[in-house]
C-alpha cells in the first residue's frame, strides 16, 4: 500500500473508532432501522437507499459535521512506533519541563491543603446539600471566608517558567551571539513570518469585507454587511460546520453568533446533554472540593470586579464548579502535553483500583481562569448550553494557553511569534524597550494567556474569538499583541521604564481589533 493511502486509512479508522461510542452513532443506527419502513427503501438496493435517505433528511450533514469536528480537534495519527507521550508532546525536554511545572503546582496545592487543614474532597452533609441546592442560582451572594486561600499560580509565575525553558541540545551560550534570542523565549520553535501569516489569514486582507471594519456606521450596509448576513443565515440553515468555519473568518453578525459558534464546535443540545449537565450539578451538590474554593476566589478577584462581566457571576460558578467534576474532559489529555493530577483513596495509597484524578476533570484552575468563561455568558443563557460551549472551547483552544508544548498554537510558540514579529517589524521599538528593561513579552503575556478576555471591549473580544474559531488557531492572539504595540509605538518610544510602558498599554478597552490586525498584516510597509 502506498504511504498516503495507508495514512488515510488510518485516519478513517481512528475517526470511526471515536464516533462509534458517540450519541450520533446510536441515533444514526436508530434512524437507519426506522427508515426500513419507508416505501423508497428497497431490499435490493438497501445500502444506496439508506445513504440517499440520510442525505435528504440531513443526517449525512450531521455525520459530516462530526467528522469535521474530529479532524479539527484530534491530531493526525502519528507514526505507529510513536508512544502516547509523543502524541502529547514530541519534544522530550518540553515534556520534562511540563512535568516539573506540574509537580510545582501539585506541591503548592498539597501544602495549601495541609496548612489550612482542609481535605481535597469531602462529602457534604445532607443539610448543606439542601442549602446549596436552594442557593444554586445565586451562589454569588455567598461570601465565604476565602482570605486564607491563594491562587495556585498566576500567569507571571508561568512566564518565569517559560523564560527558563532550555533545549539541552541547543547552543545556549552565556555570551550574546547570533544564537541567543533577543527576547525572553530561548527555544527555537518554528513560527510563521509575515508573508506566511498573510497567506494563512488571507481572508483578513484589504480586499475582503470584514465585520469589525466594514460594518461601521460610515459604511453603507449594501456594500458588504447585508450580503454577509444573508450568507450567514444560509450557512445556518444548511447546518454545515465546515462552511460556518470558513464564513466566520470574516466575522459573525451579532444575531447569528451564538448559533454559528455552536455549529462550528458541533454542539447541539440533546436531552442527553442536559441530563449530563444535571448529573454534574448533582456531583457539585454532593461533594465539596478544595478547587471549588479556588474557583470562588478567582471569580471574586477577576470577573466580579470587571465592569462587563460582574452580572454573570452566578453563571460562572454554575459552569466552573460543574466543569471540575466532568471526567469527559480527561479525553483531551491524549493530545495535551499536560497530565491530570492523581490521588488515591485514603488508606489505599499506590493501589491502582483506588486511584482517582483530582479534580475529576484533571484541570487545576489558576488566577484568571474564570475569564475564559465570562465572555461566553453574553451569547448563551441556558446553563447546560453555556457549559457545553465552554467545555468544547477549553478542550480545543484554551488548554494550550497554560501548558508547555511545541504546538504552533501553544503559549510558547505564541510568545515566540509575538517577540519575533516585534523584532522583525519594529526593531527600533524592540531595542528601546529592551534597553529600558521593559521586555515586551512581560507586558503582552497576560493578554495572550487570557486570550485578551478582560482587556478588550466585549464586542471586540467576540470579533477576535470569531477568528480563533474560523482559523482553528490561536496565532491571531500573538499577531494582535504585536499590532497593539505597533499602534502605540510612538508613545512607547518615549517611555523610560517598565512601569511607564505598562501604563501606556494598561487600557486596551478602546481598541478596535480588526483594523489593527489588518494594518499590521497587510498595510505595514516593511
Amino acid at each position: 500500500m502506498l504511504q498516503e493511502e495507508s495514512d488515510l486509512a488510518l485516519i478513517i479508522a481512528q475517526i470511526v473508532q471515536k464516533l462509534k461510542g458517540s450519541n450520533l452513532y446510536a441515533q444514526l443506527e436508530r434512524q437507519a432501522w426506522a427508515s426500513l419502513q419507508r416505501p423508497e427503501i428497497k431490499l435490493e438496493s438497501l445500502k444506496e437507499d439508506i445513504k440517499e435517505f440520510f442525505k435528504i433528511s440531513g443526517w449525512e450533514k450531521k455525520l459530516q459535521n462530526a467528522v469535521y469536528s474530529e479532524l479539527n480537534v484530534f491530531p493526525l495519527p502519528s507514526h505507529p512506533a510513536a508512544p502516547p507521550e509523543h502524541l502529547k508532546e514530541p519534544l522530550v525536554y518540553m515534556r520534562k519541563a511540563q512535568g516539573s511545572w506540574e509537580k510545582r503546582i501539585l506541591k503548592s496545592l498539597n501544602s495549601m491543603c495541609t496548612e489550612l487543614s482542609i481535605p481535597l474532597a469531602r462529602k457534604r452533609p445532607v443539610g448543606e446539600q439542601k442549602e446549596l441546592l436552594n442557593k444554586w442560582n445565586e451562589m454569588g451572594t455567598d461570601e465565604p471566608d476565602l482570605s486564607l486561600f491563594r491562587p495556585v499560580y498566576a500567569p507571571k509565575d508561568f512566564l518565569e517558567v517559560l523564560i527558563n525553558l532550555r533545549n539541552p541540545n541547543y547552543e545556549n551560550g552565556d555570551s550574546h551571539s547570533f544564537r541567543t534570542h533577543l527576547g525572553l523565549i530561548q527555544v527555537p520553535l518554528k513560527v510563521k513570518d509575515i508573508p506566511e501569516l498573510k497567506e494563512f489569514f488571507v481572508e483578513l486582507g484589504l480586499t475582503a469585507g470584514q465585520l469589525g471594519i466594514d460594518d461601521s456606521t460610515q459604511v453603507p450596509p449594501e456594500l458588504f454587511e447585508n450580503e454577509h448576513v444573508r450568507i450567514g443565515q444560509k450557512v445556518l440553515s444548511e447546518q454545515d460546520s465546515a462552511a460556518a468555519q470558513q464564513y466566520i473568518r470574516q466575522g459573525s453578525p451579532t444575531a447569528l453568533r451564538a448559533e454559528l459558534w455552536a455549529l462550528i464546535l458541533n454542539i447541539s443540545s440533546q436531552p442527553e446533554d442536559i441530563l449530563y449537565y444535571e448529573q454534574l450539578k448533582t456531583n457539585v451538590i454532593q461533594h465539596d472540593l478544595l478547587v471549588d474554593s479556588l474557583i470562588y476566589k478567582d471569580v471574586k478577584l477577576t470577573a466580579s470586579n470587571d465592569d462587563y462581566y460582574f452580572v454573570f457571576e452566578d453563571y460562572l460558578y454554575q459552569v466552573l464548579l460543574c466543569f471540575s467534576r466532568d471526567t469527559s474532559v480527561l479525553g483531551h489529555f491524549a493530545y495535551n502535553s499536560a497530565s491530570p493530577p492523581k490521588s488515591y483513596i485514603r488508606g489505599k495509597l499506590g493501589l491502582e483500583e483506588y486511584a482517582v484524578f483530582y479534580p475529576p476533570n484533571g484541570v487545576i484552575p489558576f488566577h484568571g481562569f474564570s475569564m475564559y468563561v465570562a465572555p461566553l455568558c453574553f451569547l448563551y443563557h441556558e446553563p447546560s448550553k453555556l457549559y457545553q460551549i465552554f467545555r468544547e472551547m477549553y478542550v480545543r483552544f484554551f488548554f494550550r494557553l497554560h501548558s508547555i508544548s511545541s504546538h504552533p498554537s501553544g503559549i510558547v510558540s505564541l510568545c515566540l511569534l509575538f517577540e519575533t514579529l516585534l523584532q522583525t517589524y519594529l526593531p527600533q521599538l524592540f531595542y528601546h524597550l529592551r534597553e529600558i528593561g521593559a521586555q515586551p513579552l512581560r507586558i503582552s503575556f497576560k493578554w495572550m494567556v487570557r486570550a485578551f478576555s478582560g482587556y478588550l471591549a466585549t464586542d471586540q473580544l467576540l470579533l477576535l474569538w470569531d477568528r480563533i474559531l474560523g482559523y482553528n488557531s490561536l496565532e491571531i492572539l500573538a499577531v494582535l499583541a504585536a499590532a497593539v504595540f505597533a499602534f502605540r509605538a510612538v508613545n512607547l518610544m518615549e517611555v523610560t521604564s517598565l512601569a511607564a510602558a505598562e501604563a501606556v498599554l494598561a487600557d486596551l478597552s478602546t481598541l478596535k481589533v480588526m483594523p489593527l490586525l489588518q494594518i499590521f498584516l497587510f498595510a505595514t510597509v516593511t
Binding site: P77, A121, E171, L189
Partner: protein, 178 residues
C-alpha cells in the same frame, strides 16, 4: 504485508570533518553511520525506521550482493531526504520516521550493508543523530497489517456518568507526584 525485523549491527558514528576534531572550533555537520548485517543473508529491504534527533538531511547508500564476481559497489538509494524543513528550528527534530522500499532510488533486493549519511548544517545544535534504528524485510504474506498501538487499546468512549467515588468513598490522600 507483514514485516520482519532484521537484526543489525550499528557501528559508531563517524564525524566527517576537515582538520583535527579535537582542536577545531566548529562542530561537524556530517556524520556517517554504518549498518551491517552479520549472520544474515542478503535480503530484500522493506522498511527503515528510526527516531530522529536533530538530523536535518539523510542520505543512504547501499551495498548489494551481485551475482557476478565483480566486487559489490556502493550505490545511493536515498539522496538528501529532508527530515527538518528548517534546520534551525525544532520542527521534525524528534519525529519517528519510516522510509519504504518504494521511496528508494534503486532496487533493494539483495542488501549487504547500509551507510547512513546524516547532515545538519545548522551550528545551533550541540549534537545530532538517529536513534532506535530498525531495519525490516518483507515477512510472510499475511492479512494482518502493522497497526498502531491505539487500535488495540481504543480510547474509552464518552462515559455515561462522571465517576467521582470509588466504592462510595471520595476521601483522598494528598496529590501524588509520579
Amino acid at each position: 504485508m507483514s514485516r520482519v525485523s532484521v537484526p543489525c549491527h550499528v557501528k559508531g558514528t563517524v564525524a566527517l570533518q576537515v582538520g583535527d576534531v579535537r582542536t577545531s572550533q566548529g562542530r561537524p555537520g556530517v556524520l556517517v553511520i554504518d549498518v551491517t548485517f552479520p549472520s544474515v543473508a542478503p535480503f530484500e529491504l522493506q522498511e527503515i525506521m528510526f527516531k530522529n534527533y536533530y538530523t536535518a538531511f539523510l542520505t543512504i547508500r547501499v551495498r548489494q550482493h551481485t551475482s557476478t564476481h565483480t566486487p559489490a559497489k556502493w550505490v545511493t538509494c536515498l539522496r538528501d531526504y529532508c527530515l527538518m524543513p528548517d534546520p534551525h528550528s525544532e520542527e521534525g527534530a524528534q519525529e519517528y520516521v519510516s522510509l519504504f522500499k518504494h521511496q528508494m532510488l534503486c532496487d533493494m533486493g539483495k542488501v549487504l550493508e547500509l551507510r547512513l549519511i546524516l547532515r545538519q548544517p545548522s551550528p545551533l545544535w550541540l549534537s545530532f543523530t538517529v536513534e532506535e534504528l530498525q531495519i525490516y524485510q518483507q515477512g510472510p504474506k499475511s492479512p494482518s497489517m502493522t497497526f498502531p498501538k491505539w487500535l488495540s487499546h481504543p480510547v474509552p468512549c464518552e462515559q455515561p456518568a462522571p465517576l467521582l467515588e470509588v466504592d462510595g468513598c471520595y476521601d483522598l490522600n494528598l496529590l501524588s507526584y509520579t
